[in-house]
Amino acid sequence: MLRLPNERARPSFGRPPPTQETPPADGVFRPALVNGVTLGSIYGLIAIGYTMVYGIVGMINFAHGDVFMIGAFLSLIVFLALTSIGITFVPLALLLVLFVAMALTALYGWTVERVAYRPLRGSFRLAPLISAIGMSIFLQNYAQVTQGARFKPLPPVVTGGHKFGAVDGFGVNISNVQIIIVLLTVALMVAFTLIVSRTNLGRAQRACEQDRKMAALLGVDVDRTISLTFVMGAALASVAGLMYLLYYGVVDFYIGFVAGVKAFTAAVLGGIGSLPGAMIGGLLIGLIETFWSAYFSVEYKDVAAFSILIIVLIFLPSGLLGRPEVEKV
């Protein structure tokens, strides 16, 4: 793999990235809101991968966060490659990066399932889980060995922003990166919901989730459906990786672990197995983190996020949109 140059500053989830400095006139609330929605979009896209795989295979794919990290790296590599061959028109470059990174990351997702999970299907319940943790460590090390341990920078690609609302008082500054992230997330969510609810593939996925054996009896190739689920999850994670890269301007081998834990939390908070739940959970975690950082302290933002998770799970054990089991069997 192409070796990327290094960067010194260490960014942090939840803190506005260095490139996104907002004028003080906005106060604290509005930037926190915008930043929280942006961050929440990224978490939500990753959370979908957790929730879908859990729904169909019944396992937590702990390597999913690292697939997101691979997606971010691949996005960076494709960006630099495009720049070096002279494609600098930003919308075109973004589009190319998006599709190439999605395709390549999807290949990683597919391979992970094929190599680490499929051979263990039908084995004891914890086997794929252990394998997933191994895969996560492997992917981190793989990125570290091929790219080094330091942060890799991307020069700001999308710059500028817009002021929305009244000029004096209640306006809010939203950067172009934030606009792209939120719009892209909404578009992907709509597309994804349509795939799952309307297409034959989506129906087959839901069938596998509800009764795998019956799905096979009706001619559904369960292995292929599971593979495609991993492919879809990885493609969404790669988009999240690209967004992260654009937003924070740097990547390293460890971002997948942090983002993975948060996105997994988001999936559980929203109700694991539920697609809208994953998105809502992602947004909530993003908002809690940014608001806690803005009003209290950045250091304890994770404590806040996880405390909310615990409180929600005490009162709604299956998460916000998780389904209570009421069906007749």
């Binding site: 069938a207 509800q210 054996k213 009896l217 001619g219 369960v222 389904r323 069906e327």
Partner: protein
């Protein structure tokens, strides 16, 4: 008559426990064949073994001249064998319509609209409930849906595991007459497992009796119905 489906010396195991101990069964094109037997005899196991789960350990399963003993389950479904399995297995969080679509998927939806009309004509109840979630249907409605879902795949061989289970006598009768009609009009081959031995044997051309993982008797439907052993074990008092 050539056999559409034949099992030769099939054994199947759950772990180390034998559930099928060398079963020979033949179903010819255009026939209705029924399999009766006490609880735990291995009838449902036989139905599932034809689809490869549990897989036959010994013996051979041949369908339409092709050995399907080791064929993966989803590929067997594509050979135009459909099963309404034990327990109905309706997708609980899908609507009635979506459940039917799942049945039609193997045909690439080639005759979907036409077949849907036909199912709604046979089971008007399903039409009324088209948008309802499968899991909230009554037991009888689920049974109708399971049969309709199997028929949506336009099978040559229809396998039904206890289709009359939990149905009101009138509805059970209706299901049997649907089976008979499909067999007579469309030449559909049917392999039927039933507790309701009287109705099943009356309907079927031929029948098999299974005891403890083995076929102990076979013959014409009416012929079995007359046998004192069958009457004693499966009919008297059972009806």
């Amino acid at each position: 008559m050539t056999a559409l489906l034949s099992l030769e010396g099939v054994t199947a195991y759950y772990g180390s426990i034998a559930a099928l101990k060398g079963v020979d069964v033949e179903v010819s094109e255009g026939e209705i064949v029924t399999l009766i037997g006490a609880n735990g005899a291995g009838k449902s196991t036989l139905m599932m073994t034809i689809f490869g789960s549990p897989q036959a350990r010994d013996g051979r399963i041949v369908y339409d001249g092709r050995d399907i003993t080791r064929t993966p389950m989803h590929e067997i479904a594509r050979l135009k064998i459909a099963q309404s399995p034990e327990g109905r297995r309706i997708f609980p969080r899908m609507s009635v319509l979506e459940n039917l679509k799942m049945g039609a998927a193997v045909t690439q939806f080639a005759h979907y609209d036409e077949d849907l009309e036909r199912m709604f004509a046979i089971f008007p109840r399903l039409k009324e409930r088209a948008a309802q979630r499968g899991g909230t249907l009554s037991g009888g409605e689920q049974q109708m849906l399971a049969i309709a879902r199997a028929l949506m795949s336009r099978p040559r061989l229809l396998m039904l595991d206890e289709p009359s289970l939990g149905l009101a006598p009138l509805v059970a009768k209706q299901i049997f007459s649907v089976v008979k009609e499909l067999n007579e009009k469309d030449g559909l081959t049917v392999f039927l497992v039933e507790q309701n031995a009287y109705h099943a044997l009356k309907l079927a051309h031929r029948g098999y009796v299974m005891v403890n993982g083995k076929i102990t008797m076979s013959g014409g439907g009416r012929e079995l119905l007359e046998k004192p052993e069958v009457r004693a074990a499966y009919l008297e008092g059972g009806r």
